[in-house]
């Protein structure tokens, strides 16, 4: 045992072993912190998308779909983005514990702090309109993205369940009826005699709307309530006022 230290020193000299340079460790530390920061930012993107998707869905129409509220929540949650949020939070955690003092913090504390930062940043991004822009980019650039998330389009294109969405293409028919082109480019004659219009709007061509009502046949739909495509509509208007 006596000779271990001498042996090691000899080995160091003979093999010309040198301490790794300081810049190597500094770079590595910066790299770990950068990946941590990037993961938090990507996590906040994911959270802003979660918020965007949740906010754009109409949660008060679950009884039209014929499902319970919990089942509707279960179907509608944006799992695609939630998985990304969890993934990026995990990557942030992994990098944080590999920083110099990261191991001193509890697993749950690191996870919560990472998540809270992502949530705060993500909420800011959502209110900034970033998530809507990101959603459009994804819809345009990522094939099958619309199949990965339960979108407002999917929620409202269920005519058999009394939900329909589209753009008015012709007005002025008797009894306030109008013609609608739905989101799948199908033509519908809408019976709107006793309809409740929600939101500050009047029926006009080019107006994008959501309808709650009853399916009559393949081309006819009886509307009971009409909402603007964006939001739920806070102001009630009757008929075609």
């Amino acid at each position: 045992m006596k000779n271990i230290s001498n042996k090691v020193l000899k080995k160091i000299r003979d093999n010309n072993i040198k301490p790794k340079p300081r810049w190597y460790f500094i770079t590595r530390n910066y790299f770990i912190w950068s990946i941590f920061g990037i993961s938090i930012i990507l996590g906040s993107f994911a959270f802003s998308m979660v918020l965007f998707i949740i906010k754009q869905l109409d949660w008060d129409i679950y009884h039209y779909i014929g499902e319970g509220f919990l089942k509707t929540v279960f179907i509608s949650l944006p799992y695609f983005w939630l998985i990304f949020l969890i993934l990026f939070t995990g990557v942030a955690y992994y990098n944080f514990i590999h920083t110099k003092r990261g191991y001193r913090f509890k697993f749950i504390s690191i996870l919560l702090i990472s998540l809270i930062i992502s949530i705060i940043l993500g909420t800011g991004l959502y209110f900034n309109g970033f998530s809507e822009r990101l959603e459009n980019v994804f819809l345009e650039k990522i094939p099958y993205y619309n199949r990965l998330v339960y979108s407002r389009e999917e929620q409202w294109m269920q005519p058999k369940r009394g939900l329909l969405a589209g753009t008015i293409i012709e007005t002025g028919l008797p009894e306030n009826n109008f013609i609608l082109m739905d989101l799948d480019n199908n033509r519908w004659k809408i019976e709107a005699g006793k309809v409740i219009w929600k939101g500050k709007m009047t029926p006009a061509t080019g107006l994008k709307i959501k309808l709650i009502g009853t399916l009559i046949d393949d081309n006819n739909f009886k509307a009971m309530e009409i909402r603007p495509w964006q939001g739920k509509g806070r102001f009630i208007m009757r008929g075609n006022q």
Partner: protein, 196 residues
Amino acid sequence: MITGSECVNKTDEQIVVLTLKNQDYYLFLMKRYEAKLLNYILKISNISREDAEDILQEVFIKAYQNLNNFDLNFKFSNWIYSIAHNTTISAFRKKKVRPQTVSWEDKDLNNILESTLEAENRSLQKLTYKQILKIINQLPLKYKDVLILKFIEGKDYREISDILRKPMGTIATLINRAKKSLKQELKKEDIKLKKL
């Protein structure tokens, strides 16, 4: 030529700074930890002395190569114990080393037993040295590790946390569980003996 007396009054951290300028100083740092680390490696791993010495050499070389990563705000002893711990575990995983029965000093065993058993259970200490050693060596590594660091190496919670790179709360839990587990195993052994 550097003499040992030059380093006598210097702290580990001061010698680290000197080593980065002149590798010969590293010898004095290694000498300070040679016996302690060899003992630690032997106790946590149960391997032959020869294998432990090989691991120790690897530890010293790794530490030297990573000397620039040592943060002077930390204690060098914790840092090098941490490297020794990781290198031993890694050698174990790679099966580079084979377990053997390693002898412990009586005072080390007593340190662990006294900290684990309450006064009314002191009779358990009448178990033979071999029986107690067998029980300690059969404990899961995570328990054996904290018991050794706390009661043999005399490290406090913060130091053990820095060596094992785990939060202090986790270390406290591990120590409690390790003591409980050891106590249970000792009791079982005692009951078995009484039945004989």
